[in-house]
């Protein structure tokens, strides 16, 4: 069993957990994910590994409560155990010296961009980070990103922190001021990744995106997470999760994410009916 050793609420419906998973902790690299089941009848969901501590055998998981499984996870306490944690899965990010890298993170995707930017900084890249959120309270992990970046730009939809606007406005502003970017990453809501990929293409910046489609096994066995990249069908779990942002068929990714919308709603409603009000999460 995979014991929860610490828990913190970091924004509305967003939580940070450290979980005992020594096998995962000792092998995890930036960009990889785990498959988690909260309970015996639970579904298998992918979550990015935000950090790993080899000494304590713990991994850090940061997620937003959006459906039954993540709601249930968010209600778990220190000392409780997850049913399953399998990983690390997927290809690690390609960490090397690019020169100047631009790291774009949005929403809970900031948790996924963090380990990659730390590693890129660690090998001597100049790191410029753009964090985006609807409002200031949803810009998570700001200080930690700032400590590991040469420059940090925050954009909020409502202007409550940093620049008023979206991450692509930040990207354009950087290029406008003459910044030469050698490689970018964008991780966040699919719509944000789509538009940051389009913007990067316009600006001539190569960009990786980390897709988060629906998965079942996470090991290449089922094809639930398939996506068209260029002309080919690729599995996000084993061929990704990172792909060249220019090549991803974004509309397909978004359609496929909506596949079980009705069932997901039923599942969450049933869960709330069973456990009571969860609006406090």
């Amino acid at each position: 069993m995979f014991e929860i050793t610490s828990k913190e609420k970091i924004a509305t419906k967003e939580y940070e957990f450290w979980v005992k998973a020594p096998q995962v902790a000792s092998h995890a690299k930036p960009g990889q994910f785990v498959i988690v089941r909260t309970s015996q009848n639970g579904e298998r969901i992918p979550l990015t590994i935000a950090d790993a501590n080899v000494e304590t055998g713990e991994i850090r998981l940061i997620f937003q409560a959006v459906g039954k499984t993540t709601y249930e996870f968010a209600t778990m306490k220190v000392g409780d155990s997850l049913q399953d944690v399998a990983g690390p899965l997927g290809h690690p990010s390609e960490i090397k010296k690019y020169g100047t890298v631009l790291m774009v993170g949005g929403g809970v995707g900031i948790a996924a961009i963090l380990p990659i930017l730390k590693a890129l900084k660690g090998v001597g890249n100049r790191v410029i980070t753009i964090l985006g959120g609807r409002s200031a309270d949803l810009v998570i992990l700001k200080d930690e990103c700032e400590r590991n970046s040469d420059e940090l730009i925050v954009t909020t939809d409502d202007g409550s922190m940093g620049m008023k606007g979206v991450v692509t406005d930040g990207m354009k502003a950087l290029v406008k001021r003459g910044e030469k970017i050698d490689q970018a990453w964008s991780i966040g809501p699919t719509i944000m990744m789509k538009f940051s990929a389009y913007t990067a293409k316009d600006l001539g910046i190569p960009i990786f995106v980390s897709l988060n489609p629906i998965m079942v096994d996470g090991t290449g066995m089922c094809g639930a997470c398939r996506v068209t990249v260029g002309k080919n069908i690729r599995f996000a779990c084993v061929d990704g999760p990172e792909f060249d942002g220019y090549e991803v068929n974004w509309d397909e990714v978004m359609n496929r994410l909506r596949q079980y919308k009705d069932q997901e709603k039923i599942s969450l409603e049933n869960y709330i009916a069973k456990v009571g009000d969860l609006s406090w999460l």
Binding site: Q23, V24, H27, R37, N41, G42, E43, R44, K68, T69, Q83, D84, V85, A86, G87, P88, L89, V216, D217, T219, G220, M221, C222, G223, A224, R226, V227, T228, I233, F235, V238, N249, D251, E252, N255, R256, R258, Q259, Y260, Q263, E264, I266, S267, N270
Partner: protein, 471 residues
Amino acid sequence: MAVIKIPNNKTPIKEQDPKVRAHNFKEVVLGYSLEEAVAEANRCLQCVNQPCVAGCPVNIDIPGFILALKNRDLPKSAEILKSYNNLPAVCGRVCPQESQCEGRCTVGKMKAHEPVAIGKLERFVADWEASSGDVKIPEIPTQKRGKVAVIGAGPAGLTVAADLAKMGYEVKIFEALHAAGGVLMYGIPEFRLPKSIVEREINFIRSLGVEIDTDSIVGRSITISEIKKFDAIFIGTGAGTPSFMNIPGTNLNGVYSASEFLTRINLMHAYEFPYQSDTPVRLGKHVVVVGAGNVAMDASRSALRLGAENVKIVYRRSEAEMPARIEEYHHAIEEGIEFHWLTNPIAYIGDDKGNLTAVKCIKMELGEPDASGRRRPVPIQNSEFTIEADMVVEAIGQTSNKVLLSAFPELKLTSHGYIEADPQTGQTSVEGVYAGGDIVTGAATVILAMGAGKKSAVAIDEYVRSKKISK
């Protein structure tokens, strides 16, 4: 000399009514009573040349267990069975007996006679032992001979592990999923192979001292160099990655690989969503299943049980080339699955939200024989037509999963991407590393994987002993 009089037909076995079972996931075949089983056992001639044994990939002493059953000595019958086969309740249910033991049965060669129902008897004896509450655990040598790592807890891995444990090895199985059983858990549906039976047989293997580490992905959560610390390694990871038709519309919502569709239902229990399971599955009303193997039968019958109004199997060849077991085909027909032979999908059509609405097909005809010796299906010009469908399941086969293989580059692969292994021993190109089952042969049967596991257990024992002597 007395003339032997044997009933022409197998003793009939009780099954759930097709109209009822088409709407539930409970087991279709209900099994024999003791009297029925003994009556069937009496049809066995106990012939001297025992062709059935040679037809069995694990060479079970079939006349032996049937004789004990005939004499109503069920503990003895179970003991004989278990000494050859670690998963008898599974094999009795899913083996293609018609092309193995029963296909060679002497009674079946007699004019107008059906062979002895060996599979049904195997199942009866295994179920009897489990329900007796007195499952015998063979004595395990306390002096350990060595440590063996097994990758994958499917039929091949479970067999090699059980046999090595009985010989006195410490065996650890690394299983990537959260449950052991491999295809027995995620692939074969409850109505053909109840999961409680799989769990029961796996628990027996655990009782032999075999340790099973779930959520362990070799190549990811454990490296190859860590696993090389064992005295020997057996790889039984299965074929493991679905093939797609790769026609336009493959990624529309509602198009599944059979692997995903069946994993959602079997491993994740999506048919019990939302109360007993959190994993959903699409509930198609008009379903098209592509392919005509056992997996296609399982997928089509599962779709029906989820509430489909109609389920059509489309297959590019004809009925004669259908690879499915005849029993499964008959069950599918009884339940109302429609078969469209010589039909191949060429495109999936969707609406503006990316949901599947129809399958565009083309009629085929059989041409010259191809490499497989079967007549090659060729499209008939201008014969396109459309089938309305909100769900498609492609059951057209698999290729090898690369998660382990890419982490183990020293392993020599075949031109098809499977592991190259000696058919007699499972020995791979790397010393001390053995492989068997679908990762060697490509998608095949449960029992062939088990047969490979048995051979490798013997070879691994020889290897480890010779290595320890030379030290």
